[in-house]
């Protein structure tokens, strides 16, 4: 097995780290999709805003910097819901998606203007960079952030699973995601459920902002854009209809990208996107409702 031979523990660690971060993003995107049936392309710009907050508060104590990152991201997430998602609630999926493109461009452009005030592009978030150092585990160098990423992801997912299954708001959110109309007929408050999904999705974006900034402290307006696109692809490939299949899809595409990258001969790694996206096409053709969506037909037939 030539593929396996080229994969060492370090690659595996990186793959889990990447998968974990993408899983968190997938949950954030999947939660909002569940209650609003809206694919939020502008999710990456929430993360970007968080990363800029970390960069601009680099001089503060780390805790304060991280708290302000979460505050900014959650506030922006709520604002997005009020100003954009709410008026769009009865629109077609295509219109919703394209509107979130526009919002993504808008936020990027605003970031560009703010960033350029000091005359140069990009800001450095230095205060949390030490997490990026490597530690040696059994002779293998693994970056601390990999552990943190996996830890945060596992912790966040378990917490979220508990909230969704054990609390009333969680029950209401799940009901709204599976049949919004019936949920409302039973008295479930739409605005409350949506606000819950939007806030949790914002909190996850904040966490991802911290993790990605540790990996790459140089923040630019297109920060997290590429990751978001990949996660969106992963979410649909996994099965966007359900939160856990979407999450697995996000994890899988992050994990597989790292593994494929390591398995490709060095002079061919430039073709990594082609290999990954070819896999995506194959999976979609074989399982259009989602790789992990067993025994279910896609509810999102028409866009």
């Amino acid at each position: 097995m030539t593929i396996l031979a080229s994969i060492d523990l370090q690659t595996l660690g990186d793959a889990f780290g990447q998968g974990a971060i993408y899983a968190l993003m997938a949950v954030g995107i999947g939660l909002v999709f569940g209650v609003l049936r809206l694919v939020n392309f502008a999710y990456g710009q929430l993360i970007m805003a968080g990363a800029y907050t970390l960069a601009y508060t680099s001089g503060w104590p780390v805790a304060a910097s991280i708290v302000s990152c979460f505050a900014v991201v959650v506030a922006l997430s709520l604002a997005m819901d009020r100003l954009v998602f709410r008026p769009l609630r009865s629109s077609s999926p295509a219109v919703m998606l394209v509107t979130t493109f526009a919002i993504a461009f808008l936020l990027q452009a605003v970031a560009l203007i703010i960033d350029l005030r000091d005359g140069q592009l990009g800001q450095v978030a230095s205060s949390i960079a030490p997490l990026n150092q490597a530690v040696s585990v059994g002779g293998v160098d693994v970056r601390k952030v990999t552990f943190v990423a996996v830890g945060v992801a596992v912790g966040a997912l378990i917490t979220l699973a508990l909230v969704l299954t054990r609390t009333t708001i969680g029950l209401h959110t799940r009901a709204a995601a599976s049949d919004f109309r019936t949920a409302r007929l039973l008295g479930v408050r739409a605005n409350r459920v949506i606000a819950f999904a939007v806030v949790v999705s914002g909190l996850l974006a904040g966490a991802v902002a911290v993790l990605l900034t540790v990996q790459n402290p140089f923040v630019q307006p297109d920060f997290a854009l590429e990751d978001t696109i990949i996660v969106l692809v992963g979410v649909v490939v996994g099965g966007i209809d359900r939160l856990w299949t979407a999450t697995l899809g996000g994890f899988a595409i992050g994990f597989v990208s790292v593994i494929v990258n390591a398995a490709l001969p060095t002079d061919k790694t430039v073709f990594l996107p082609s290999v990954v996206y070819a896999l995506v096409i194959v999976v979609l053709l074989l399982r259009p409702a989602g790789l992990f969506a067993w025994g279910r037909r896609a509810a999102v037939e028409r866009v």
């Binding site: 694919v39 954009v84 008026p87 769009l88 629109s91 077609s92 999926p93 295509a94 219109v95 998606l97 394209v98 509107t99 493109f101 526009a102 919002i103 461009f105 808008l106 990027q108 452009a109 605003v110 560009l112 203007i113 350029l116 696109i229 969106l232 692809v233 649909v236 490939v237 966007i240 430039v270 073709f271 996107p273 082609s274 996206y277 070819a278 995506v280 096409i281 979609l284 053709l285 259009p288 409702a289 896609a298 999102v300 037939e301 028409r302 866009v303």
Partner: protein, 338 residues
């Protein structure tokens, strides 16, 4: 058979609008003419996308792949042979040692776009919904990746320069007209109408024996050929091109044009392309300082802020687009104005 109502305005409206833009473009100053030409090429691209997305109702993020292929094919094949030897060193000898004229290059671009779309569509047209959107997006990613990294077929990550700039006012106008006419003929044809009916109700269409897969494949191929053709126009307008110019931004911008104009009509595609590129041009002028009533200069990035904000506003306030997704109807509009 009775002629379907409104056929005249459905074609003439968009055509006259495009000719008007072309004519005004020739009277504009040299520095402004580019904006008009750009708008006309945008019309061709957006109409190409409309032929598939608008008529079939299936979302595709992949049509810019065909624009990219058309642009690079037409570009590489029209750079003079003597210059190619110096610039495109690692390219296949067949591509290096031959060059073709302007019109053949546009035909080549259209043919390649069509063939590529057909091959891709063969498996992919079974998908719909988000799965179709993502699969076509994957095609865009692969196309971009291959064009960027495979230096045997093109310039790779470097700029392809020295392409003859033949897309002037005449060619841009004619090109947009060709796209509009093909789209019109297709959507008026029996097969185009079948596909549109299947958009409204796939189950009913299937039950009366419409082979949706086949109809979608046809639309995808026509759309791919038009997109390739538009890519040819585009490269001959720019004179030099990189793979980044026919990738994500162009995909989002052209899709936004279509949705802003009104996803479901040819008139919407044309109006959306012209309105958004007009706005974009105005804002880029403003960014470099312009006199509109009084002179003002906007900081860099403001153009994108305004463009995105206006697009979002249109979509939120008028989700069916500026035209409401309807074709231009003279009688309808007369009644409206009275």
């Amino acid at each position: 058979m009775r002629r379907p109502p409104g056929a005249v305005t459905e074609l003439l409206g968009p055509a006259l609008l495009v000719i008007l833009v072309g004519v005004v473009g020739t009277t504009a100053s040299a520095s402004n003419e580019g904006y008009f030409l750009n708008a006309l090429v945008s019309v061709a691209i957006v109409v190409a996308i409309y032929v598939f997305v608008g008529i079939s109702g299936v979302l595709s993020f992949g049509q810019i792949s065909f624009v990219a292929l058309g642009a690079f094919a037409a570009g590489v094949m029209t750079v003079p042979v003597e210059s190619k030897k110096g610039v495109l060193t690692s390219i296949f000898p067949l591509l290096r040692d031959h060059s073709i004229g302007n019109v053949p290059s546009l035909l080549l671009a259209a043919a390649l776009g069509g063939v590529f779309a057909f091959l891709v569509g063969l498996p992919l047209m079974r998908l719909s919904g988000l799965a179709a959107g993502i699969a076509t997006f994957a095609v865009l990613e692969i196309t971009h990746n291959v064009l960027r990294e495979w230096t045997k077929i093109g310039p790779g990550a470097t700029t392809l320069a020295l392409v003859p700039e033949t897309t002037g006012a005449l060619q841009a106008t004619l090109g947009a007209l060709v796209a509009i006419t093909v789209a019109f003929l297709y959507q008026r044809s029996r097969r185009g109408r079948l596909l549109r009916a299947s958009r409204e109700d796939p189950a009913v269409a299937r039950s009366v024996g419409v082979n949706i897969h086949l109809e979608r494949l046809l639309a995808f191929t026509v759309s791919g050929a038009l997109a390739g053709f538009a890519g040819g126009l585009y490269v001959h307008l720019l004179g030099s091109i990189t793979t980044e110019q026919v990738y994500l931004e162009l995909t989002f911008l052209t899709l936004a044009m279509l949705v802003v104009g009104g996803l479901t009509s040819l008139w919407g595609a044309v109006v959306g392309a012209l309105a958004v590129s007009g706005l974009d041009s105005f804002l880029s002028r403003a960014e470099s300082g312009v006199h509109v009533v009084f002179t003002f200069t906007l900081p860099q990035g403001t153009r994108l802020v305004f463009l995105a904000a206006i697009m979002a506003l249109v979509l939120i306030l008028r989700p069916s687009g500026l035209t409401g997704g309807r074709e231009l109807r003279l009688r309808w509009s007369l009644r409206r104005w009275r």
